[in-house]
Symmetry: C3
Subunit: 343 residues, 3 copies
């Protein structure tokens, strides 16, 4: 693909300083960019790299526009501009439409759909136009998937689940396995509660590799529009994740909890069950949320790393903090009494 | 399916207050239930929902029996009753018996077994009556699986592992991959230790999506009867999980540790290697257990969430707790000396 | 397989005390070993087991050589010796060369390669001699895999990734899914950044079951030689893991971070993004690293487990530690003033 700077700016906006006929073939980092590459400066702390770059052009914000003599596109948000330009140069790879001879398909599909080798599609499914079902995917009976979706190899969707338009599901993702629900009998054995809800996923959702989203017990598990889930995330039954929330790898949400709109959950963080995390809240890495949070802001709960020797010396005191607080209170009382005596 | 209240009580027990000829077709929550639905009140804090429900009947405990005029089944444990009723209305979906033409099967199987499209079964396997091997499952050579099992799509079982009766294994579960064992040579390179033990799983076990249970190094990894494992759990080599233990998502157990009977491990909790967690112990979410625990009870170790500003202000002190404790001790000494002087 | 003690020592070294014609057929633990088994004592705390063993021979270090009358191989590192002997008795199981009739292969492969049932290999791939592609594996277009590799059932490698020689990839591992990169538009919606880097994996790497390694955004994600990754690990885009580093289950590394040579990361630990962990550093279980670490050593950050009652009593004080430190400082000031008054 070859696009001139002039064509880029015409489509994506921004102010071009430099020759509009310069040809761009790919996006690259300032360090690696060469002839034909468009680089970007999104973070002012990398300004030094601007000097050394051999990119054909760079995307910069107004403050950095004067820092280079190279052809440049000036825009308020270079990172967003870079994302949009990168999408143009790198459209999603879609295999040609058609059903591979080795696939086992029991539903009628639009001609524009692509089904890869050894994929299995059950009965009564509805798959939207242009959607790609990758090799070895398993799509259960009665599943509905919107148009323009991309299921990479080896995605599993259990029966009756719903996925919206433009979904990107990565390999090993499992949508709709049974929620983890058991009653306990009088012998303390676990009695399985059938999970008869579904998973219902909105439009423009991306689900990372080996991430699991369980079906609801009685009602549905719901993932809103524009939600982005990284790899190895666990979403339990009856969770609601609102629009444009985002979760990083190895995080999880326990049953029936709700993430508000645009909530951001960092890696290895967890949300306990039956609670709610309000709109725009940010949960830091490794933090377990155990109470409903209403007020926007960043919430954090992890110990900072220490050398192991420092940890041994200091952290054991956490187990005796209540005693330490009592001793401080006692000292305050004694000193106050002494002051009274002396006065 | 249609079952009268009379038939339900005849089979599952409980005291019926109301018309035994009322027909039930499904289980639902108090909020969503309508004509033909059976709802339940398991937690007294949801009593308000009882007033608004339009369920045909409800399951309640004796204390709540007087709170509604609706047809009701009175039982000591409504949640357990709900589980049993829900199982009756929602039996596990099992595809018809028989081997799909696209499956590759190298062992003789009972006629009642169902093998889905593109599943692969090795040599010398024994599969019990009525067991379902879902699409795209991989069952290695010499594997034994009990009767009435349900392997959802895309389960992998490595060679020689054993799975008991009535197993439910969810998609992406991997049973019997190599344990993580290496010696270090004099150049500090890792030398693989062959993992020649098996995984041996008891009866009535459920394994969640993308959960991994590694085979033992020399002896076996053992999962007892009635154990329930959620999604994305890691069970390392030579672990023993005793009967009726239960683990939630993203939790893990390191090598050679043992979970006692009915142990409950919450989400994202971890058990270090070579230790033992006694019967009936509960491990809270996000808690790492680093020592053998004998005494029943709940064990917890995580920081409570704070605003990030509070965290910055407070948690840094953990690194200096030993010094703070010293300073309190010094103050106590000084004040005691002062008291002595003054007396 | 049958190997005499004499042949073992001839090939693997060590000093034999005992009859070199004794025949060994397998490796076993001291407790389970019997006639024909070779056991080992790697940890002096298990010396008691040496007395009770019925192994045909044992591997011991010089200090323990006098503790038994059995035939024994004396070596400085019995655990390493055990690893090497175990490898000899238990070579990796490799299915015969050839492409299964049900596999879908679009590249020319060496005759020594084995491709299992229902595996899918794209166009333009290069697979090295003797490499095994297990059943149901998906290898994308343009992938290169070195010789003598073993991909267990159900491994996925996305297009253009590179895997070195002698790789062992376990079931459900996903190599090369998109890194988790998004810009945010003015409506706070996420705009996907195409991930056009690759994953490049060195020689002698083992990747555990259901572990995910994401492709780079613009440049590559790089895994060095001899790296060992356990199950359910998340490696984000543009991470570099240097040679002989090792990570345990459920751990993760966020984007663009770097692990030095021989770094050891314990289970459920995490490394935040854009930082560096120096050579030979050890990160303890459940510890989140949030700053670059240069100095070798062990780093730890987790709370020790407590009974839940102790936790409730003590951990709430962490939220008020800054206040407690202030109060101690105030007491010190008051006492110092009092001392001044009195003097």
């Amino acid at each position: 693909m070859q696009i001139t700077l002039g064509a880029l700016v015409e489509r994506l906006g921004g102010e071009l300083i430099g020759d509009p006929s310069i040809v761009i073939r790919q996006i690259a980092t300032l360090e690696k960019a060469g002839e034909g590459d468009l680089a970007f400066l999104a973070n002012p702390k990398y300004r030094a790299a601007l000097d050394g770059t051999t990119a054909s052009a760079v995307i910069v914000d107004p403050k950095s526009a004067g820092l280079t003599e190279r052809a440049r596109i000036v825009t308020r948000d270079p990172y967003l501009y870079f994302a949009r330009a990168a999408q143009w140069f790198n459209p999603l790879r879609r295999p040609p439409a058609g059903i591979h001879a080795s696939a086992v398909v029991a539903s009628a599909l639009p001609e524009s759909v692509s089904v890869g080798p050894n994929a299995v599609i059950g009965e009564g499914c509805e798959i939207g136009e242009n959607t790609v079902i990758g090799p070895g995917c398993h799509v259960g009976d009665g599943v509905r998937i919107g148009p323009d979706g991309l299921l990479h190899a080896g995605v599993t969707i259990y029966a009756d689940c719903v996925v919206g338009a433009r979904a990107i599901l990565h390999s090993g993702a499992v949508i709709g396995a049974d929620g983890f629900g058991f009653a306990r009998d009088s012998d303390k054995r676990w009695v399985k509660i059938p999970q008869i809800g579904r998973v219902v996923i909105g439009d423009d959702v991306e689900v990372g590799a080996n991430t699991t989203i369980d079906r609801g017990a009685l009602d549905d598990t719901v993932i809103g529009n524009g939600v982005k889930l990284d790899n190895l995330i666990q979403i339990a039954h009856n969770v609601h994740v609102d629009d444009d929330a985002i979760m990083a790898g190895l995080s999880g949400i326990a049953g029936s909890s709700r993430l508000g709109k645009r909530v951001m959950v960092a890696g290895q963080a967890g949300i306990s069950g039956h609670l709610s995390v309000g709109d725009d809240i940010v949960v830091s890495a490794g933090t377990i949320i155990t109470k409903t949070l209403d007020k926007p802001g960043v919430y954090t709960a992890m110990l900072p790393q220490m050398t192991h020797a420092d940890w041994v010396k200091n952290v054991s005191h956490v187990r005796r903090l209540d005693g330490l607080a009592d001793r401080v209170r006692e000292l305050e009382k004694l000193l106050a009494e002494k002051n009274k005596e002396n006065s």
